[in-house]
């Protein structure tokens, strides 16, 4: 398919941990496609493998991580097979990332403006003067007030919101085709979060880039994403466009996530929670990985691993008994 900027096929990533021979599989056969110009959300709770998926594609796994199989096709090239030197040309230039912690994502000993212009010079081949002028423009563009003065400021002199703006400016500096945002607003308070999301949306409209938004915040997803992938325990469990997902989510896990959002319901009601915790990566249930926590789990769920299947209009769900259908493994069958 030509209209996808990045396609990840059957990605498997494992991690070694101290003193153990067997490797923990953190990402188990993930397929993700990011259409050109759209924003795709990757949602799941901590440790479900959403960050590892993006780091694998970028070749940025820590030393103990390893991609076992799969491919990540970006503009006709498999990122997972590119040598480091080639990959470096793509990183920052064609694909940029922003990270969760604006507090620590900037080098504390280099003025922020300089960091932006270094990003420009790294791939853009600009001279110092041009890069400086350009970075001041960029800082203004991402809403840093008094950009000229801010250029010489060190990161500790900026607030979290401003730092995240600088990070976005840096990531956007070279007009990438794809921006991977790994929980970009988690460390910010909600009003700043709204500003940052608005900024990202505006920049996207201007440049036509695609965004992969990694988050555990369904509010962010609803705000900014076109399509959503929901991950659970290293697998994609549901994929749909954002309206379909919020209107009729099919996987019990997604339903649990949405149900556990605080609402403006009358006082005194307990918030819904998904019972239990994510199973250990080394001791996954044989059947559905969500079965131990699922209210709808039946015998089949414990024994047979469900496949990711189309339940209509490209809405994918990994469940024997999707919510809202009377699937072949449904409640009556238990």
């Amino acid at each position: 398919m030509q209209d996808n900027i990045l396609e990840i096929h059957n990605l498997v990533t494992s991690f070694a941990s101290d003193g153990r021979k067997d490797r923990a599989i953190a990402v188990n056969g993930v397929d993700i496609a990011i259409p050109k110009g759209s924003t795709v959300g990757l949602v799941g709770e901590s440790g479900c493998g959403k960050s590892v998926t993006s780091l694998s594609a970028m070749g940025l796994l820590p030393d103990n991580g390893r991609v076992e199989s799969g491919e990540a096709i970006f503009c006709g090239r498999d990122l997972l097979k590119l040598p480091d030197r080639e990959l470096r040309k793509i990183r920052g230039n064609r694909i940029s990332m922003i990270f969760q912690e604006p507090m620590t994502s900037l080098n504390p000993v280099i003025p922020v403006g300089k960091q932006v212009s270094e990003a420009l010079r790294l791939h853009g081949g600009m001279d110092k003067e041009t890069a400086k002028r350009k970075s001041i423009e960029i800082l203004e563009r991402v809403g840093v007030p008094e950009a000229r003065r801010r250029y010489d400021n060190y990161p500790h002199q900026l607030s979290g919101g401003l730092r995240q703006r600088v990070m976005i400016g840096m990531a956007m500096a070279l007009k990438p085709d794809l921006l991977i945002a790994d929980e970009p607003t988690t460390a910010l308070d909600v009003s700043i979060e709204a500003q940052i999301l608005r900024l990202m949306r505006t920049l996207q409209r201007e440049s036509g880039m695609s965004i992969l938004m990694i988050t555990h915040n369904l509010g962010v997803v609803a705000e900014i994403c076109d399509e959503v992938y929901v991950m659970y325990a290293g697998e994609v469990v549901e994929h749909a466009d954002v309206y379909a997902l919020f209107r009729d989510c099919a996987h019990p896990y997604t339903r649990g996530l949405i149900a556990s959002l605080p609402r403006m319901t009358p006082k005194g009601q307990r918030l819904y929670t998904i019972r239990g915790t994510v199973p250990n990566l080394r001791a996954m249930p044989a059947g559905c990985r969500f079965a131990p926590r699922c209210e709808r789990a039946c015998k089949r769920c414990w024994e047979e691993k469900p496949l990711l299947q189309d339940i209509g209009n490209g809405h994918l769900c990994r469940c024997h008994a999707p919510v809202g259908t009377n699937g072949n493994g449904g409640e009556g069958n238990g």
Binding site: L60, D63, F99, T104, P145
Partner: protein, 305 residues
């Protein structure tokens, strides 16, 4: 897309918030913070002034001391301090003040040179160990462990005995016992820095490994290295004094340590023979320690961002 009234309102609001944010912090750099530290921390200021005075003394020793430090005067042996000889004379009738003044050159050199060598060596090895990890790390760190496991003084003395007593060999001996500490500190910093998000961010921007080491990791170690360096200098001066006192120093380099060593037989009768160089050592070492502590205080908050 059409902008609604609400959009406009949030825009205005966000600008107001941003303007407020912009006013939060006045411009201040690390240099600024160091200057501020001197204003508050009197001990560090005293240390700095003393160091400058000692440097001037070393530089202008011939002007300050009116006598030749090596001129033997057999008529005036072991004379107590007087107007002619401020710190008295030693057992060969040499002027103790002149010897202390000229000795500052040797002692400062002993302080600076091995500290600089071990700084460079330790930093390079520490960066390699921390960044490359695995076998390189294991090799360098075991080597450092060996050096640190030896009693430093003994190791330095063995080196001096093996290579012979000269000031150059003193530099080598002191560098050998000092690099391991620096390497450990730098390695530990590198290990923590390379997991920092800004290093990951740099990698995600396509920055090469060497550039990450020199542009992102080393500069972040630098403040600590400055502190380490200022605290290494008095250490080296003390080691040299101890070794000279024990008789393994360079007998021709009239360092303060050697002077104390030579004066020790007359300690009861002529206390000025050991008091003058001893106080010089004390003041110099204290000055560097005060300065180092102050610098650490000034630099520390920067490392927490």
């Amino acid at each position: 897309m059409k902008r609604t009234q609400k959009d406009l309102y949030t825009d205005q609001l966000s600008h107001r918030i941003l303007d407020a944010e912009a006013e939060i912090q006045p411009d201040a750099g690390i240099a600024h913070s160091i200057v501020n530290m001197f204003r508050v921390n009197r001990a560090a200021l005293l240390g700095l002034i003393l160091i400058l005075l000692i440097l001037l003394l070393a530089l202008f020793a011939p002007l300050v001391a009116r006598c030749d430090p090596d001129a033997i005067d057999l008529v005036n042996l072991r004379k107590p301090p007087s107007a002619a000889h401020w710190f008295g004379t030693d057992d060969l009738g040499r002027d103790v003040f002149a010897r202390v003044a000229y000795g500052s050159r040797i002692s400062l050199m002993i302080g600076f040179v091995p500290s600089a060598i071990s700084l460079v060596l330790g930093t390079a090895l520490g960066l390699m160990a921390g960044f490359l990890g695995r076998r390189v790390d294991a090799l360098i760190m075991r080597l450092a462990d060996v050096v640190l496991a030896f009693p430093s003084l003994l190791l330095a003395m063995v080196v001096m005995y093996t290579l012979g007593s000269s000031i150059l060999n003193m530099f080598i001996a002191l560098s050998i016992i000092n690099w391991a500490g620096t390497a450990r500190v730098v390695r530990a910093q590198t290990l923590s820095l390379k997991e920092k998000e800004f290093v990951e961010a740099a990698r995600s921007m396509g920055v090469s490994r060497w550039k990450i080491v020199f542009r992102h990791i080393l500069p972040n170690c630098l403040p600590n290295l400055i502190v380490l360096f200022t605290l290494d200098i008095p250490g080296a001066i003390m080691w040299e004094s101890s070794m000279s006192f024990l008789g393994v120093g360079d007998p021709n380099a009239a360092s303060w340590g050697l002077m104390v060593s030579q004066g020790k037989s007359y300690a009861y009768m002529c206390p000025w023979l050991i008091l003058a160089p001893g106080l010089a050592i004390l003041i110099t070492v204290m000055a560097f320690n005060f300065l180092g502590d102050g610098l650490r205080d000034a630099i520390d908050p920067y490392m927490k961002t």
